[in-house]
């Protein structure tokens, strides 16, 4: 039978099932295969904080979304084109994301009486009209698997565990994907377990064959290669990229790498990655708590390591006092904060950008430190190198903000040539003659770094205020004023050593959308889409939050209206308004999820219809919340 083939620019597929159904696994495989096929890809793992929540429950649903295309892909997709739902609960939770006319592939085994009851369905949605707006493929995957394995001798227990792979096979058929990448992954993953390899590989092919032979599957979709610049690519999450960035930064600085860390969602993957890099001479300590994580790193920094601590919001709160110590002792240190929804324990597995104020000001005393933010998963690599460069050159702790979204989401990363990356020069004391621990480089104001083992430069430092130059403990009032101002001036001066903010679009005009951190993708797409409709919106993205790029004030001045979208209630907006005479319009969302570009488009469209600048009401800033709430 002839199948119809349709070409698409971009598609979003969402795999959903129980926590134990292996959805993250097949989502990752689908994403990798799309990358191999030359697409741009962006993913979004969306899983509960329970490890194995009771089967069939709404709160136990785990999902993995893959957005891929032949054009630039900057988000994990606003609407789902294809939903794979392994049970009733996962259909219930995810149906709202599926666009009208979208495809839904369900495993009917997950729709028995018990499952329907747990999902809160009074009637079976597969049998009533509730899915009328969608193209539904209802498949008894257990039964179909049995058929597929009729002539293959594999214990049925093994076969029945491969339902997720069978579903993946069907999805591969839908997009005419090659199976090779996943087969070779299966071979590697289950090396030595021949029957497990056989079960999975045959199940994958079985899923493909099922769709190929089934007359209901009439249409295949082709997503062509995107026009990425030539090079070697891999799929990478922000946490993986940060871990690699740290190893490369240490190499480029010719320093040993030390990570002191305590496990915390969603930052732990950096610790996992670094702990596997022993081959590279990397040392790590899984400390007894967050405070020991950072203070062990401070000890290692005193000893001459490129020292790092990784954490998320609650951990950052615990590290506050120690960050002050690193500021006072002027030691290089990288703090990676993979932000999550707070306050307190909050929504541990969900994303937010609400630690910005804590990163800026969350310390006692006048305690300035550079704050950087990565724009995407792959950008975590670049910004980690930047954090190391600034920390070592300026002798200061540096905060790198990422978040649960880009930390765990993946996108293709063009792998850099390590040789071509610039060296990083630590500010080591040249020799003992005239050495004092707080002598400063007149240009950068960085103090000299002398580490134990360097002869003739023995000195004592600590949290007490010190006399400038000598570093001797001092309570002199004028010296304290001078030191406070010096520390501020040092951080402010970094503005001369970072790139200017770049405006995409007209350099002056009515509306500038200014994003920071992980909102980059959604903001960029929203502006592109609106401009394609004939609007003129300019776009800029901040990676440096303290200090701001030198030209920020001037850029703000060039626009009638400046809009900042943030996954908080307006923290960057307030920072900018405090520094520049400009009223900023905020678009704010705190739902544990990243922005959809369509949400920003809607808000910006409202703004575009308003000619009177005073009519923008703060209450319309909040995405998804009715104005009259």
């Amino acid at each position: 039978m002839n199948k119809i083939v349709e070409h698409l620019d971009e598609v979003t597929v969402r795999f959903a099932g129980d926590s134990g159904d292996g959805m993250q696994l097949i989502g990752t495989q689908f994403s990798d295969t799309s990358g191999f096929a030359g697409n741009e890809v962006n993913t979004f793992p969306d899983y509960p904080s329970e490890i194995r929540a009771p089967e069939g429950t709404l709160y136990g649903v785990s999902a993995f979304q893959v957005h891929f295309g032949s054009k630039h892909i900057h988000t994990s997709g606003d609407f789902v084109d294809v939903l794979v739902a392994m049970n009733a609960a996962s259909l219930k939770v995810n149906l709202a994301f599926v666009r009208e006319g979208g495809i839904i592939i369900v495993n009917t085994e997950g729709f028995d009486e018990r499952n329907l009851k747990l999902a809160g369905y009074s009637t079976n949605p597969l049998q009533d009209t509730s899915l009328a707006k969608y193209l539904v493929f209802a498949i008894d995957m257990g039964k179909e698997l049995k058929k597929a394995f009729i002539e293959v001798e594999i214990p049925s227990k093994l076969v029945q565990r491969t339902r997720n792979i069978f579903a993946l096979g069907i999805t591969y058929w839908l997009f005419n994907r090659p199976l090779e990448a996943t087969v070779s992954w299966i071979n590697k993953k289950f090396k030595g377990k021949e029957d497990v390899i056989m079960a999975n590989a045959h199940s994958l092919q079985g899923g493909w064959n099922f769709a190929e032979k089934n007359p209901d599957f009439r249409k295949q979709f082709i997503v062509d290669k995107s026009a990425l610049p030539p090079g070697k690519y891999r799929s990478i999450t922000g946490n993986q990229a940060a871990a690699l960035g740290l190893v490369v930064a240490a190499t480029k600085a010719h320093l040993p790498l030390f990570l002191g860390s305590y496990p915390i969602t969603p930052a732990t993957d950096i610790l996992h990655a670094i702990s596997g890099y022993k081959q590279y001479g990397v040392k790590h300590l899984q400390a007894e708590d967050e405070i020991a994580g950072i203070t062990s790193a401070i000890g290692a920094a005193f000893g001459g390591s490129l020292a790092v601590t990784t954490t998320s919001g609650p951990g950052l709160s615990l590290k506050s006092e120690a960050i002050g110590l690193a500021i006072m002792t002027e030691l290089p240190l990288i703090i990676v904060d993979v932000q999550r929804a707070g306050p307190s324990t909050g929504l541990p597995t969900k994303t937010e950008q609400s630690d910005l104020m804590q990163a800026m000001y969350g310390r006692h005393g006048e305690a300035p430190m550079p704050v950087l933010a990565a724009a995407s998963s792959a950008d975590c690599f670049n910004m980690t190198l930047e954090a190391a460069r600034i920390a070592l050159k300026y002798m200061t702790p540096v905060m790198l903000l990422t978040d649960g979204y880009i930390g765990q989401a993946s996108e293709p990363w063009r792998i850099p040539n390590v040789e071509m990356l610039p060296d990083i020069a630590p500010n080591f004391a040249p020799d003992p003659s005239g050495f004092k621990p707080y002598l400063r480089n007149p240009e950068t104001l960085a103090r000299l770094w002398a580490i134990p083992g360097m002869q003739g430069m023995e000195h004592r430092i600590g949290g007490l205020e010190k006399e400038d130059g000598s570093g001797v403990v001092s309570t002199d009032p004028m010296n304290h004023q001078k030191m406070v101002e010096l520390r501020q001036k040092k951080v402010d001066g970094i503005a001369n050593d970072i790139p200017d903010l770049e405006v995409i679009g007209d350099s002056r005009g009515d509306l500038l959308l200014l994003s920071w951190g992980s909102t980059y993708g959604a903001a960029k797409i929203a502006v592109e889409n609106l401009n394609a409709k004939g609007h003129k919106i300019s776009f800029a993205h901040l990676r440096y939050l303290n200090p701001f790029p030198k030209n920020l004030g001037e850029i703000l001045h060039q626009f009638e209206r400046v809009v900042i979208p943030e996954l908080n209630l307006g923290q960057l907006k307030n920072l900018i308004q405090a520094k520049y005479p400009k009223r900023i319009i905020g678009i704010n969302k705190v739902q544990g999820k990243p922005f959809k570009s369509v949400e920003l488009e809607e808000k910006l469209s409202v703004l575009l219809t308003m000619t009177n600048l005073q009519t923008w009401d703060e209450s319309v800033s909040n995405v998804g919340i009715p104005v009259d709430l």
């Binding site: 992954w185 070697k232 081959q279 000890g299 005193f302 000893g303 390590v418 080591f428 403990v473």
Partner: protein, 359 residues
Amino acid sequence: MAYRLTSKENNMKTIIDEILEKPHSGEGNYTSKDFKPDVDVRWCAGCGAISVLSPAQRLMPELGIPKEKIVFISGIGCSGRFPYYMDTYGFHGIHGRALPIASGLKIARPDLSVWVVTGDGDNMSIGGNHFIHACRRNVDMNVLMFNNEVYSLTKGQYSPTSHRGQITKSSPLGALDDPFNPVALALGASATFVARGHDKDRQQLQQLLLQAYQHKGFSFVEIYTNCRIFNDGAFDLYTNSDTREDHTIFLEHGKPLVFGKTKNKGIILDGYTPRVVNLEQGEHSVDDLLIHNEKDSTLAFILANMTYNEDLPRPMGVLQNLDRTPYEDRVVEQIQHEVEAKGIGNLESLLLGSSYWEI
């Protein structure tokens, strides 16, 4: 040992290796004066901490290591000032965190001799969690805990080693807490070297510090230090020359537990219970006495638990001294093992990961 890959030469050398390769200053040619920096000691006159400073300064030349390789680290409290008074590298940390700072340093730099000076508040209270984990982790460092059974720098509140009923500014009617027994806590947390000394016998103290240094792994020395201002005389019974012989027992490995001014008393074990016996009444001789064995953890606990028993002398000296590979050596072994198994890491293949594609 510090490893690092440089992308070109494919070896793991770092700047640290260059520093380590440079010639170092006169090993063994120091005097205690070389360890006295040009600053005034600002502890109160008669403070027990001063009595620890001079044994430490006298010990350093005997270690035979370059002084640029010695680091003193402290937390907050009167003890926290100690590093300023040693002309070595030094780091004055924040309250309770001296141990993780020292752990990070020693793990990163196993070539250094790392010393921690802390107090009963810094180490047992705000830093209590770090203390128990440092004990079990066994990073090679020497921890000198000044115990004055009171918070002094905050001007006189009860501490986690204050005794029940102790009158302080924050316990005018008497403290309700029971104290930690620091050596028992250290043993319970698997510290390999546990000792106790006091500020009135500097020679004995210097000897204990030397033994702590010689022990490879985590060494904990509790030091009774008198606070003249807020808890004067707290340890008189155990430290004054006219009473200490009868109220303390100095433990020596392989020797019987004899004490008393005229060496007329000893300790026997009655089941698991230590009892004092008189050696002059003919009933017991030295041969009956318990022999100290610093390699025996069970015995160490029995001895440590004599501490607050008023019928027994207070144990001083080395309670336990076990051999166990220090943490930082295991870190290096793991790295070496991985390098032997897989070769020195290649940065390019690390970046490529397990699956990549070309466009």
